[in-house]
């Protein structure tokens, strides 16, 4: 192919504007139509918004990240317009921590329509305003036809599609749509100096401030500053070509217009402060002091490619595809310099932690607080006019002419068709992104949960959701019950949440050890927060809940399991944070007034003041695209989008999962982790004797334990021990995250090479079959009868039963190095099964009281006359000595409980000594029950010869025990008896159900003495609900 000479490779865009042949056939009417072409395209764009986003948004809404949070805030304003105290999350927070306009507007709509419908209506309205905003914004740069194309681009731009349908960020979109509408007025004001334009600009910017503070703050830098700069350039009579002269001229022009600039600056600042003054007041009086929560937008996108896909590739692929054209156009004129800086800066900041530059530019603090994807989003918005310019040129301008000349019209058509089609496929992919890469759990019907909360005064306690995703906010929106969790991180003030990098408790497992530690704090210290109910949508948390004293109560119609903790006090009245009534009224009135004012002013402007020659002072663009830009920007979209979609199809259908032993093993475990068992089965050597049925059967009899039923694969390592042409031997190291901590496992697989694929050899299966055909076991089940009178009056609740009797068999305070704990034994001395709640209060000399609760080293439910060991970890020695401990109180509250007192099967054990004061417990557990014991556990107490308990620990085995079978395992146990001391010099007072008690004299334990001081009780988790654990 012969390329034209450089000079001939330039084409004027201006000459081709009116040859928009696919829309106009009649050349006589060309000039008439061309005036209105921009508006026609705008109308088409607005109609397309309704047809596309309007149709789909109701269905994408439940899968978005943020939509439900905004719905929750909207629900707050619908219920309590003038009361910013929201008690339902985090034990209470102030809603003045987020600009209210969007939520208040939705709240008003929700008075007529259901909340979700109100959200959708609001979202569509905002997108329509955004389309108009982009149209008007583009007119600052180019002609109306380009602006019309820009408006069309809004409908299809991946970053906007993602922000709306994947993130559901309505405040961002609201702020942006009004900001873009305000910019032309600001520009006109600075160029023409008319106060009307200033008023219009400020009115619209007021809506931005009231909608989204971040857009307002950064909008000043990335949108308003370039607009001001462009207005100053356009005000120059002649633009100097020399850069120094140009700089000087701009400064001079700025000084010439200093009154206008200062007036705008002062008024803008006053609006920014005054409109949402309660927000600034809150920021100052209650500053955010919490550990930064990791966010994918701050990742290195090369290392974490999934974050790169979501936060960079999906929103910005079109921008990268057209980057040569954008870069060329945006740097072509001096009036665009501000926009060029803003665009490239936003693009750089949007790249997150891929390079160290964003962190250096923003500083550590801002970098760790901000979600950086919004910068990429703004870059894409700034790029719209420049993309529209090129697209128009490509479809019906000089670029089209270029392609037609050097190839043919049909080649250009094919190129356009492939580019457009692949981009549309890419868009469809984004619409269904949540299907390909689930971002949220499946939709949960909240009505059964609401019914549960409404009945039997369950709302008098707080609840917690697990595995709900952002739908926890939707549940909150539909109920007036309170949860300890929440979904607005800036408002969190509970130390258990702010001291760890945990996004939410409900998805704690995704925050690793820190997340589970935070969740454990709440589950153990449930009394502190009146947390009584947990709605679990993820069995991953079951072991953590059970071993921390929670009992399953009921499985609701929607499949959600309700867990309950006994002996939890109802929510104590909490004083809301004090806020002046004036601020409350200001918050309820001023932001909404800004929107009303914007609507009114827009109406007045359109009716009486709108000028037809709106863009008359905007310079006409006269420049051309070089051939290199035309080639790259025309071909890159085809390459990138077809490449992206091809890769998706390849990953979905064509990837060779068994190309080598390591890949095969990695993919096998990947399928196993996501419970795609049929896919996992296909990694085994095809054999008529090893069928899918056989695989699933073998799996079913070895499943159920902590691994893999309650675990998530954390990391995997594969080592090829031996490999030849047809076979291999690999060793696999897997690390599993469970709710009870990490577990590691080693497996060895033999592999075979068949038909160009590597297969696993099925591991030898040792069947354990119980002799009996049918097993039986007698259970004694209890039913608590509850009230005698049908009444909601609280004092007669549970009036059939009293507080059950319990007794301390012994209580000790033990110090082991820096650690201190209270150990002992508690007896259910009643004739009914009980749930017991322990609480240790340390009274220090300076009136500081600290409260501690037991963790997993305690059986919370006891059958009649059963006893349990317990251990409560308390302050460390340094704290205790520095604060000067005065006394210790141990409280036990008991309640009748019909569940949870079956603790497992028969245990057998022998203890052998080991080095370093260790013993090895050779344990066996026989499951005589009629159900599997899913997580066999042993509650181990170390006793001295006199019978005193020194420490108590829960040790669990990862393998389940099927009914009628037994399991043996070795458990090392470190004794502390020789190194620890029993502290007797602090007064230790004991209470049961509020009454002071004393412990019975400690007796020698002959069994423990015969087993090197080790006493063991079974403490197992049984997943089948019928057995009431």
């Amino acid at each position: 192919m012969v390329f034209p000479q450089k000079k001939q490779r330039s084409y004027s865009l201006n000459n081709y504007y009116f040859k928009f042949s696919f829309l106009m056939n009649n050349t006589e009417n060309e000039s008439i139509w061309s005036d209105f072409l921009g508006k026609k395209l705008l109308l088409v764009a607005m109609s397309l918004v309704l047809l596309t986003h309007g149709v789909i948004i109701y269905f994408t809404l439940p899968q978005t990240y943020d939509a439900f949070v905004h719905l929750f805030f909207a629900d707050h304003y619908a219920r309590f317009w003038f009361e910013p105290w929201e008690y339902r999350w985090y034990t209470g927070f102030l809603t003045i921590s987020y600009p209210p306009l969007v939520h208040q507007a939705m709240a008003l709509l929700s008075k007529i329509f259901p909340l979700k419908v109100a959200f959708c209506m609001y979202a569509i309205t905002i997108i329509e305003i955004l389309v108009v905003g982009v149209y008007r914004f583009t007119k600052l740069f180019f002609d109306k036809t380009t602006a019309g194309v820009a408006a069309l681009l809004v409908v299809l731009l991946s970053s906007i599609v993602e922000t709306l349908h994947v993130y559901g960020q309505m405040p961002t979109l609201t702020g942006l749509s009004f900001l873009l509408n305000a910019l032309p007025f600001l520009y006109q004001y600075l160029v023409k100096g008319k106060l009307l334009y200033l008023a219009m600009a400020l009115t619209l910017l007021a809506v931005v401030v009231s909608s989204h503070h971040v857009t307002a703050i950064f909008g000043m830098a990335f949108f308003i500053a370039p607009t001001v700069f462009m207005a100053l350039v356009d005000s120059l009579l002649k633009v100097p070509s020399n850069i120094f002269h140009f700089s000087f001229a701009i400064i001079k022009q700025g000084l010439k217009k200093y009154k206008s600039l200062i007036l705008f600056g002062v008024l803008m600042l006053s609006l920014a402060v005054g409109l949402i003054f309660p927000y600034w007041y809150w920021s100052k009086t209650d500053p955010i002091t919490q550990v930064s929560i990791p966010h994918g937008s701050r990742d290195n996108f090369f290392k974490n490619t999934s974050s790169g896909l979501i936060f960079f590739v999906v929103p910005l692929t079109l921008i990268f595809a057209l980057l040569p054209a954008i870069s060329y156009t945006i740097t072509r004129q001096k009036r665009f310099i501000g926009w060029a800086v803003a665009f490239f800066l936003c693009l750089l900041l949007g790249s997150g932690g891929t390079t160290p530059l964003p962190k250096k530019l923003l500083g550590d603090n801002a970098f760790n607080i901000l979600t950086l994807d919004r910068f990429g989003f703004w870059a894409s918005i700034i790029a719209i006019p420049f993309m529209a310019k090129f697209i128009l040129s490509f479809v019906a301008g000089p670029v089209q002419q270029f392609w037609t000349r050097i190839t043919s019209a049909s080649s250009h058509f094919i190129l356009s068709a492939i580019s457009g089609f692949s981009y549309l496929l890419f868009l469809i992919f984004i619409f269904h992104l949540s299907s390909f890469r689930p971002l949220q759990p499946k939709e949960i019907q909240v009505q059964p949960i609401i019914n549960f909360l409404n009945r039997d005064e369950h709302m008098r306690w707080r609840y917690l959701t697990l595995g709900f995703g952002d739908q926890m906010a939707w549940l909150s929106s539909n109920s007036i019950a309170a949860t300890v969790d929440g979904n607005y991180h800036s408002a969190r003030r509970l130390p258990e949440l702010t001291s760890r990098p945990v996004e939410r408790l409900e998805n704690a497992k995704f925050s690793g050890d820190e997340g589970l530690a935070s969740l454990k704090d709440f589950l153990q210290n449930a009394e502190k927060y009146s947390l009584k109910y947990v709605f679990s949508n993820d069995r991953y948390y079951d072991p953590l809940l059970y071993f921390n004293g929670w009992n399953r109560t009921i499985r609701l119609e929607n499949g959600i399991m309700v867990w309950e903790k006994g002996n939890i006090s109802t929510i104590k009245p909490l004083q809301p944070k004090k806020l002046s009534p004036l601020l409350k009224y200001a918050w309820g009135i001023i932001p909404m007034s800004s929107l009303c004012m914007a609507v009114l002013m827009t109406f007045i402007y359109l009716k009486w003041y709108k000028q037809k020659d709106y863009s008359q002072n905007i310079p006409t663009t006269h420049y051309t695209y070089p051939a290199a830009v035309i080639y790259s920007s025309s071909l890159l979209p085809v390459i990138l989008f077809t490449g992206f979609m091809t890769r998706q199809v390849y990953e979905l259908l064509l990837v060779k999962e068994q190309k080598d032993p390591t890949t095969a093993v990695l993919n096998y475990f990947n399928h196993l982790d996501f419970q795609r068992f049929e896919n996992a089965f296909h990694f085994f050597t095809p054999s008529p004797t090893y069928t899918l049925d056989q695989y699933l059967l073998e799996k079913s009899v070895s499943d159920g334990g902590l691994l893999p039923s309650y675990a998530k694969l954390d990391s995997i390592g594969v080592k090829e021990l031996q490999k030849d042409k047809d076979s291999a031997l690999v060793k696999v190291y897997t690390r599993w995250r469970t709710a009870l901590g990490a577990r590691e496992k080693y497996d060895t697989f033999k592999m075979r090479h068949l038909n160009e694929a590597w297969y696993l050899q099925p591991p030898p299966f040792e069947s354990e079959i119980v002799d009996e055909q049918m097993r039986n076991y007698s259970y004694t089940l209890f039913k608590k009868m509850g009230k005698r009178v049908i009444s909601s009056f609280p004092t007669v609740k549970d009036d059939r039963v009293k507080k059950p009797f319990a007794a301390y068999k012994q209580v000790n305070m033990v110090r082991h190095g820096a650690e201190n704990f209270i150990t002992g034994e508690l007896l259910n001395s009643d004739d009914i099964p009980i749930n017991a709640a322990l609480k240790v209060i340390l009274h220090y000399k300076n009136n500081i009281n600290r409260i501690f609760y037991p963790g997993t080293a305690f059986q919370y439910n006891l059958s009649p006359k059963a006893s349990t060991f317990f251990q409560v970890q308390i302050d460390d020695t340094e704290t205790m000595d520095s604060l000067q401990l005065a006394s210790i109180e141990l409280y036990t509250e008991t309640d009748v409980n019909e569940k949870g007192y079956i603790h497992g099967g028969t245990i057998g054990y022998s203890v052998t000594p080991a080095l370093n004061n260790q013993v090895v417990i050779n344990a066996a557990m026989y499951n005589e029950l009629t159900t599997d014991i899913n997580i066999p556990g042993l509650l181990i107490a170390e006793k001295d010869s006199a019978g005193n308990i020194w420490q108590v620990k829960l040790e669990i085995n990862i393998k389940a025990i099927r009914s009628g079978l037994s399991s043996r395992f070795l458990q090392p146990f470190k004794k502390i008896g020789g190194n620890a001391v029993m502290i007797k010099n602090y007064p230790l007072q004991l209470f049961i159900n509020g009454q002071q008690r004393s412990a019975t004299p400690v007796k020698k334990d002959a069994l423990a003495n015969a087993n090197r001081g080790i006493a063991i009780l079974p403490h197992c988790f049984i997943s089948q609900e019928i057995y009431l654990q």
């Binding site: 004694t780 005698r788 009178v789 009036d799 059939r800 028969t906 057998g908 069994l1007 015969a1010 087993n1011």
Partner: protein
Amino acid sequence: MRTLLLHIILLIFVAACTNPKPVKPIWANATDTLLLPHANLEFLTATEGCKATLLTCTQPIALPVNYAKGKLVAELQRTGGIIEGNAEICLSVGTAFFYYPVFLKNGSVTKPVTKDYRSPKTVNPDSALHHQRLLHRIDAYRNLVTLDNSSRYFREEEVYLGSKTGTFRAVKNLALSSYYVQPGSCVNIPLTLTYNIVQNAYCIKAGPLKDRYNNMVGNGTMVAFIYGNNRATYRVERTLQDGFATAMIPAEMAVGCTLQARVNETVSCYINLKK
């Protein structure tokens, strides 16, 4: 714009218009204590459209009113009896409210009944076998009436209960007065050992377990069978049903072991497991 301004000014004028304040009606047959049933309440007033309400300590009672000869008459005759105490008669006209404090009293005590109130109570022979009760009387309108031959309204008594386990009612047909006597702790644990040849297992039966009053120990009580030898220790947990707990122990694991059953601190004698 000018028209709009005119409308706004007119609106301000309209909003500024107020009705004259009504004058407080005079209670013609005023009294400190209203003895029910009572004659009509008469008020002198020129204002029409008054509503009358008797605000008792527990509820508001709307009184029918009529006007006759410049008087407002509120009828109390239909009220048979009432909860006695401080009250107020409230006359209202629009947004104006006028209050007249009175003391309500019934003319006579009607159908007094004696109430024996006992809080739901569960007793356990291991601790104490007594129960408190509270006696009082109320009339048909739920006013407290003094107890017979006394000026007191309440009398507290302590009732000693029998040691037999069961659910009892202090007052017939009144579920709320139930009390419960639970069995206490067992005093000894008889053990029976049999060898089942078919299953090659020992069948250990503990029971009947009884408390010191010869009541059968409660169902669900945990009995731990602990057996072992110098090699290992085993613990089998069973719950009591009708006084008995049974465990099957495979013979191959237990031959030569000694076994003991435990319920809390109560232990059985040791037995040797032999075929």
